[in-house]
């Protein structure tokens, strides 16, 4: 927290010592008004962020281009207040205000695209990186709303709500194409392989370096926005498709010695036969860190109707195995991957019934599939299965599907016809299908080697009813209160209230106070998924969070300063619980697991979190044309986890999520046709690794990722002589080389084999201690965009 205080001081000092440069010039007051964000997410109506019943930040398309942003996750990290992502070289984790629950598939943050809720019910999945599947050029702005938001949106809005607003045709007129890519070293040497003795190197697959400069990712996008009359009514269409491909960089992992395979009696086979079983995991992973993402987004407006359609697939491979992600996959196996397929349609209609009433109707349908494919050649991972050949490999394929149809009706009643007393009532009902299966097949022949298991096929209904009352009793005072009642098949009613007040104390100064509650419905994976080492969670209760916060915002010309403090209490958190021997015996008696299985887990409501802290931001502009823009955000938070299933056990910090983090940026529009130069930083304090408190490490040796600083320099401008053609070039440096995820088969202190003789004679030179996920330290990017205006 001392670092946080220091950071806050650094943030405030510039405001204190910098006179508001535009205060003396004519339009500074106007600039102040124009710099206010107009948000719609917090209360489902347009209002300024200053008076909205939540702390929010608006990430604009202009800033995203200016600061070299290439994904939603990067926008969150470099531009937002209070939210942060963490990349395990798979799909990112997201958290806010000190709470980040790694591996949660984003199900503690509600993701909206044009108001359409994306999180699916099986895993609660929402992707915030390229997996979001929304072409960035089509994004108008992103609203990041912090704190509980279930009052209007129901489940998943516990950390907050992120609403991606796409562009309308008037703001994206014409035809647009863009292409950009990343380049840099094709290999990140992070495992100190060079220092290993040859006797160890010789047992690792592909340890020899082949580093050079090359392109590691590329993206192409095409889109258009047009307005036209259709059957006598105004119509518009905005659409974009994109394809993103990433291959590498290659990372070096390990070496970690796994020991002797209990099933084969030979050293562990971490690589695909015919490579020999050496017992070693590691080397250069140059084939299994990739992404393939085709995606498209469409909006059609006609009459009073708005239609949005989204389609995307997101295939990616993760270049390591870990305890909870890709537990058994062979090393550097490009055929082990994860795949999302998403398609949704949202049709909205707005009817002004009278001066008093506006009715908004919405019908929507979604389908989301997920596949987890892992190939393993480690015999103890497929004991009892009849894989073929002398060097068998088995493919495990988990498939889940979510489909849902919904209708929402929302009635706004403006009682006094002056927007000072408005009631919003709504009902949102949906029917859902949830299915899953688990297939086991022979990798070499593709034939099943075991019957499909975990056959879940359920239909259910979910209904939410909400009401919100806003009241402005005086021009300086705004009140907002509401509640939502949610019910679904697996549990009875759940109420999420919110009450908020904003008071303008003096010119430009606004105080805000908010109390809110939210919940997360347990995912179907948590309640129903059954795996060889996992029994269904069964009768789980929704996770709940209560939050209170206060903030003060001061606008002074083109300067804006915000400071807020918050506290939240989380309960009923669902986590994987390792069954005791007695519980395992009971599960065996019920036929949920077989006797030989050990380390059986089950999702349970096992923990609570106590969380408090502050966040602050300072933004401003300078110059007659606002040529210089800057901003800085800082969040300091404490989040302590308590295991309620183990009374008396000490509180522990949360892992992966930073307790101190923030970002800063400054840009300068050079005069005339010269480019814009921008510098952005994103920084995080030290973070406990995901296995820090579950790996049995000695307290003095808990795995901790070092503080991280990402520095990004971007230059954007128009290509001289070619109307409509613009460019963007930049570079990104990451100063720390490790992230907060333990990688490899050695996931806890008991499994670490180092120089100790217990691992046999081949372990000489292997590093001791947990190995953390490597970070790509440097990358340059460049791209062109062509806007063909009619």
């Amino acid at each position: 927290m001392r670092r946080a205080a220091f950071s806050l001081t650094c943030l405030l000092v510039p405001l204190a010592v910098t006179r508001p440069a535009r205060a003396q010039s004519a339009p500074s007051d106007l600039e102040g008004l124009l710099d206010q964000s107009v948000v719609t997410t917090a209360s489902k109506s347009a209002e300024t962020s200053t008076t909205a019943p939540a702390t929010s930040s608006t990430l604009t398309a202009e800033d995203m281009r200016r600061y070299g942003i290439r994904s939603i996750a990067e926008a969150i990290d470099f531009l937002s207040l209070g939210a942060v992502t963490s990349d395990p070289l798979s799909t990112v984790d997201i958290g806010a205000r000190g709470v980040l629950l790694s591996g949660d598939s984003g199900d503690h943050f509600l993701l909206l695209v044009d108001g359409h809720a994306v999180n699916e019910p099986f895993w609660g999945t929402a992707r915030f990186d390229h997996g979001a599947g929304v072409p960035l050029e089509m994004v108008d702005h992103i609203e990041v709303v912090l704190g509980p938001g279930s009052v209007l949106y129901g489940s998943n809005a516990v950390l907050g709500v992120i609403n991606i607003i796409t562009k309308r045709a008037k703001d994206w007129h014409g035809t647009h194409v863009a292409a950009e890519g990343d380049a840099g070293p094709t290999q990140v040497d992070s495992a100190h392989l060079a220092r290993l003795p040859d006797s160890v190197k010789s047992q690792l697959d592909g340890w020899k370096t082949n580093n050079h400069i090359g392109i590691t990712s590329a993206r192409v996008m095409g889109g258009a926005g047009y307005e036209f009359p259709l059957f006598g009514k105004p119509a518009e269409i905005t659409a974009a498709i994109e394809y993103f491909q990433q291959d590498g960089p290659a990372f070096t992992f390990g070496p970690q010695y796994g020991g002797i395979d209990s099933a084969s009696g030979q050293p562990d086979q971490f690589t695909r036969p015919p490579l020999p079983a050496t017992g070693w995991w590691g080397g250069i992973a140059n084939k299994d860190y990739y992404v393939r993402e085709p995606a498209g987004q469409l909006h059609v407006g006609w009459g009073s109707f708005d239609l949005s359609v989204h389609a995307s697939t997101f295939k990616r491979a993760t270049p390591y195995r870990a305890r909870f992600t890709h537990e058994v996959q062979d090393f550097d196996d490009p055929d082990s991957y994860d795949l999302d397929r998403s398609l949704w349609v949202d049709l909205k209609h707005r009817a002004t019934l009278s001066e008093l009433a506006v009715l908004t109707s919405r019908a929507y349908g979604d389908t989301f599939d997920y596949q987890d494919v892992q190939n393993t050649s480690l015999e103890s991972s497929f004991v009892g299965l009849q894989a073929t050949g002398s060097n068998p490999t088995v493919t495990y394929k988990g498939t889940t599907a979510s489909r849902w149809l919904g209708l929402e009706e929302q009635l706004s009643l403006d009682w006094l016809k002056d927007a000072s007393l408005v009631t919003l009532v709504g009902v949102d009902g949906r029917v859902r299908f949830i299915g899953s299966k688990f297939d086991t097949s022979d990798f070499n022949t593709g034939k099943p080697v075991a019957p499909s298991t975990n056959l879940v096929s359920k239909y259910d209904q979910a209904v939410g009813v909400y009401a919100q009352q806003t009241w402005q009793p005086a021009p300086w005072l705004g009140l907002n209160g509401g509640a939502r009642f949610d019910e679904e098949t697996r549990y009875q009613g759940n109420v999420s209230p919110r009450i908020a007040a904003s008071a303008r104390a003096w010119d430009g100064g606004t105080f805000k106070a908010i109390y809110a509650e939210a919940f997360r419905s347990p995912s179907w994976a948590e309640t129903n998924l059954q795996l060889p080492l996992q029994i269904p969670g069964g009768d789980l209760q929704p996770e709940r969070v209560r939050s209170v916060e206060g903030s003060f915002e001061q606008r002074l010309g083109a300067h804006r300063l915000l400071f807020g403090a918050f506290r939240s209490w989380w309960s009923n958190l669902v986590e994987l619980h390792a069954l005791t021997p007695q519980e395992t015996a009971a599960a065996v008696a019920q036929g949920l697991v077989s006797l030989e299985n050990y380390g059986v887990t089950q999702y349970r409501n096992v923990s609570s979190i106590d969380n408090w802290g502050f966040n602050a931001s300072y933004e401003g502009t300078w110059g007659a044309l606002q040529q210089v823009r800057w901003g800085a955000m800082v969040t300091g938070a404490v989040a302590k986890r308590n295991d309620v299933s183990a009374p008396g056990s000490p509180s522990e910090p949360l892992t992966v999520g930073p307790q101190v983090f923030g970002n800063g940026r400054i840009s300068y529009d050079l005069p005339g046709d010269l480019p814009t130069v921008a510098v952005a930083v994103h920084w995080m304090g030290k973070r406990y690794a995901d296995r820090a408190f579950t790996g049995g490490w000695p307290r003095a040796e808990l795995p901790v990722a070092p503080p991280q600083l990402d520095l990004r320099v971007t230059v954007t401008g128009s290509v001289p002589g070619v109307k409509g053609l613009s460019y963007r070039i930049g570079a990104n440096w990451a100063l720390a080389d490790r992230g907060p995820y333990v990688v490899g088969p050695n996931q806890d202190s008991g499994s670490i084999c180092s120089i100790s003789a217990t691992c046999g004679t081949t372990t000489a030179g292997a590093p001791a201690g947990p190995q953390l996920v490597p970070v790509d330290p440097f990358r340059v990017m460049g791209g062109l965009q062509y806007d063909l205006l009619p």
Partner: protein
Amino acid sequence: MRRPAERKTWRATVVLGVVGVTLYASSSQDARAEDVAVPERLQAELVAKMAGYDRGFAHRAGDRVHVVIVDKPDDPDSARAATHLESAFHVLPDVGGLPHDEAIVSWQGAAALPELVRSRHAAIVYFTPGFAGDVGEIRAALDGVDVLSVTAIPEYVARGIVLGFDVVSGKPKLLVNLGQARKQRVAFMAEVLKLARVYE
């Protein structure tokens, strides 16, 4: 506590109700709503500031600023916007540094506009949504009339309303039709035009 069967019936009833209302609502309207993206309170504040940067405003307004808000009869969107704007202006301490009053006037046709402005000594005439088919006539009618015409509908500015607002990337944006401004003797200072999207 309801039994499972009752809960299922309750949810099914709600879902069916929502379906019914949706079908009714989607058949009840056939005109595309012209969304007012900038909150009316913020619009009023922006107009009040912008008026101060119009060199001709003080002369036009005299001792008191009269704001005329024109709405379209039988158009609920227009009526809503008019009443919202009236109350938004009402709470402002000043417009362009001067005391002010507001009045909602029903649309009587473009030809009546010059007389409306003169008779009410209007310094600002505000057009609510619903005038998509009339903007050309409004522009022609106000040629040579000393008044600041304003709208919340971005499309109207390109077609002849002097000042308007839009939301671009989540921020309010000023829109100015400079050619029409000259014709209506509105002379915004260069500094504020740099902050605006300007139509000639």
